[in-house]
Symmetry: C2
Subunit: 191 residues, 2 copies
C-alpha cells in the first residue's frame, strides 16, 4: 500500500516500524475484520514490544484511521490507472475493491469514529471523491454534479454492500457490477 511505501521512518532494528505495524495491522484486518486489530496484537505480530506502536499511533483509533487512509489511497491509485472518462470502469473498480478487501472497505466507509480527527484520512477520502466527481462530470456534463456523484457513489456502494452481505445469492459479482453501472451511465447520458 502506498502510504507504507512512501513512509520514510527508520527506527529500531526492525527497519521501518510504521510500515511493519501497518502491514501487521492490515493482515489482522483482512483475517478478522477491525475487531481483530489491537495495538497489542499488532506489536506481537510485527515482533516489537507492546509499547512500540505508540511511537506512531496514539491509540487504536489512530491505527484504524491509518488503515482506512491506506485503503482510500489504494483505491484512488487503482482508479487513476483507468481512463477518467470511464465512469463505468471506476464503478466496477469500486465494487471489486470492496469484495477483495471487505475488512478494509468496512473500515473506510463507517469503521472509523470521528473521522475529522484524522486529517490524513480525510485528505485521502477527499482525493477519492474528487476523482469520482471528475469522472461523473465527464460522463454527464449536463447534470447537477453533486447529485450525480452521490447517486454514482450510492449505486456502487449499495451493490458492494449487498454482495458482501450475501443478499444476492448466485449472482456473479463482476457481471452484476458491469450491468448495473452500465445502466446507470447510460441513464446519465440519456436524459
Amino acid at each position: 500500500m502506498s502510504t507504507c511505501e512512501e513512509a520514510g521512518t527508520r527506527a529500531y532494528h526492525h527497519g521501518d516500524l510504521r510500515c511493519a505495524l501497518l502491514a501487521a495491522a492490515g493482515e489482522l484486518l483482512s483475517e478478522g475484520g477491525a475487531a481483530a486489530v489491537s495495538l497489542r496484537e499488532v506489536a506481537r505480530r510485527a515482533g516489537v514490544s507492546h509499547n512500540a506502536p505508540y511511537r506512531h499511533f496514539s491509540d487504536r483509533d489512530a491505527l484504524l484511521a491509518a488503515l482506512a487512509a491506506e485503503g482510500f489511497a489504494e483505491l484512488s491509485r487503482r482508479m487513476a490507472l483507468l481512463p477518467a472518462s470511464r465512469l463505468q470502469a471506476l464503478g466496477q473498480c469500486y465494487v471489486a475493491f470492496a469484495l477483495e478487501q471487505p475488512g478494509r472497505f468496512a473500515l473506510m466507509f463507517g469503521g472509523v469514529a470521528e473521522k475529522s480527527r484524522y486529517p490524513q484520512l480525510q485528505q485521502a477520502a477527499q482525493a477519492l471523491y474528487r476523482q469520482l466527481g471528475a469522472s461523473v462530470q465527464a460522463a454527464a456534463p449536463g447534470r447537477d454534479p453533486a447529485t450525480a456523484s452521490l447517486a454514482a457513489w450510492s449505486l456502487v456502494h449499495g451493490l458492494a454492500q449487498l454482495l458482501l452481505d450475501d443478499q444476492l445469492p448466485g449472482q456473479d459479482a463482476a457481471a452484476a457490477a458491469q450491468a448495473v453501472t452500465g445502466l446507470f451511465v447510460a441513464g446519465l447520458g440519456g436524459a
Copy 2:
C-alpha cells in the same frame, strides 16, 4: 408490526406470547442493535420465564429471523400505500425506513445467517422484491428488468448505508434521497 397483529397465538396469562416476545425483542433491537437481542433478555423484558421464548423460537437466530421478517412486512406495507408507478417514492420510502429503524434494517439486509432456513423471512423478502420489481418495470418498460431492479435497489441501499454510517455529514437525508432517486428514475426513462 403486521406479523404481530396477525398472530393469533393466545397462551399464558400474558396474552399473546409470541407478540409480546417480538415486541420486547423489537425494543431491544432498536435500543442496542441485534447484539442487544438475547432470548433471556427478551423473556425478562416480556415478563415471562426464561424458557417461555422457546415455545415460539428454537433459538436466537430464529428470533432474529422473525424480527427481520417483520421488517420486510412493514416496509412492504408502507410501499403498498404508495402508487406502484412511483418508483421514486418507493426509493425514498426505503431510505426513510432505514434511517428510522437502523437496527431492523441491518438485520433485514445481512443480519440473519442462513436466511434459507427461514421460509417466512424469505417469503417476506421476496414479496418486497416483487413490489420493487413491478415498480421498476412500470418506470422503465424497455430496460432489462433484473438489471434495472438491482440498480434501483443498490442505489437506495447504498445511500441509506452511507447516511447511516455518517459518510455524508451535513447532508439532509430526505433531500438527498429525493435528488438521487429523481436522477435515477429520469435516467431510466431517458435512454
